[in-house]
Symmetry: C2
Subunit: 213 residues, 2 copies
């Protein structure tokens, strides 16, 4: 059965939307593992990463075929090319959620986040989850204003990471290992958010033909 | 003046080779800043990042045009698509070198690397520089065996990062701030090497049409 031009492009964006939902689920699971010691959630995130990797591989394998078969130009060509980079960003978001889940698993049943850091880490986790959800929305609506909103949540993640680092270097009583865990976890959230912003930036490029975010 | 099909593809690979040399120079400069307190080297790395960003943007802008103009298929299509991802990886390598240079600048004239960590950090810096050089070579020779060699240097970077973290968590006498600096710098080298391996993986795909590394 052959599929129309539009069907093939719709299928491509459908996979990207599914990937973004996976990436959003992964960061939520990782945060539950980190903040509530939810071991099952951590294991689900780690196991689930293969799904995102497979979807990324599918997208990358489909791109050359779509280019040859559909010979897209202008906006459709941008869509196909952006899909390649968006799939890469979403797959990395999954990896970073896995890194966070792995830190939680490594220390389980001891919590990675001692009481004084719970607020700042929760702020980071919440902002990352919001960014993930907005990324899913932006991928389906392609709304430029929504896409630009992601920058604000990203600023929140960065600000939380700065607060966290400031806390760690001023008389942190839980030792060096705990400080390193938290600094790296903060870095993983930061990169997760950066990749989400990259996705939004690609969507803006898709729609407008120029990058500006 | 119009250019032949081959000239246009050669120009594309020429930009990638130039990018890989920039990325190699950047990690060498960052390591000199980190290990020898070379402030001028750090500033050169930070300033130089715009060059890599510009080259990445040029590559990304050229891809849709090349696809429409040349209508490449098979290996040439793979080359054009891989160029997009390779340019992305090389640009990120530059960013990571900048992160390392920035840590050195932030602490200057105090060294980020106290005596006990010099050996392991030097091992990491050397392996990263070797990987960078091999990436440049692989981009021009497209030799699969060379490409697969990169994995070994990457293992060395990962092993050095593991040694570094083990050292930091066992009675590190230089404080939490120093430990966080070093853990993050180790992470930046690790990611630098990962992106180099990604480039090599793309080159193998380019040549063989399958990813295996």
């Amino acid at each position: 059965m052959s599929h129309s031009y539009d069907e093939q492009l719709d299928r491509l964006t459908g996979v990207l939307a599914a990937m973004s939902r996976e990436a959003a689920g992964a960061i939520r699971g990782a945060s539950a593992a980190l903040l509530n010691g939810d071991r099952a959630a951590a294991e689900t995130v780690v196991r689930g990463d293969a799904v995102l990797n497979g979807m990324r591989d599918d997208v990358h394998a489909a791109i050359p075929q779509l280019l040859v078969r559909l010979q897209p130009v202008a906006g459709d060509l941008r869509l196909v090319l952006c899909a390649m980079r968006i799939a890469g960003d979403l797959e990395r978001m999954g990896d970073l959620a896995v890194h966070i889940a792995e830190v939680a698993l490594m220390r389980h049943p001891v919590t990675v986040v001692p009481e004084p850091a719970v607020d700042v880490m929760t702020a980071m986790a919440d902002a990352a989850a919001r960014i993930a959800d907005k990324t899913s929305v932006v991928l389906s609506t392609r709304d430029q204003l929504d896409a630009m909103q992601l920058g604000l949540d990203d600023d929140e993640v960065d600000a939380a990471q700065a607060r966290l680092l400031a806390m760690l270097v001023s008389a942190w009583p839980y030792g060096v290992e705990s400080a390193i865990d938290l600094a790296l976890v903060g870095r993983y959230y930061e990169r997760y958010a950066d990749h989400a912003v990259n996705v939004a930036r690609q969507v803006v490029y898709l729609v407008t033909g120029t990058i500006r975010l």
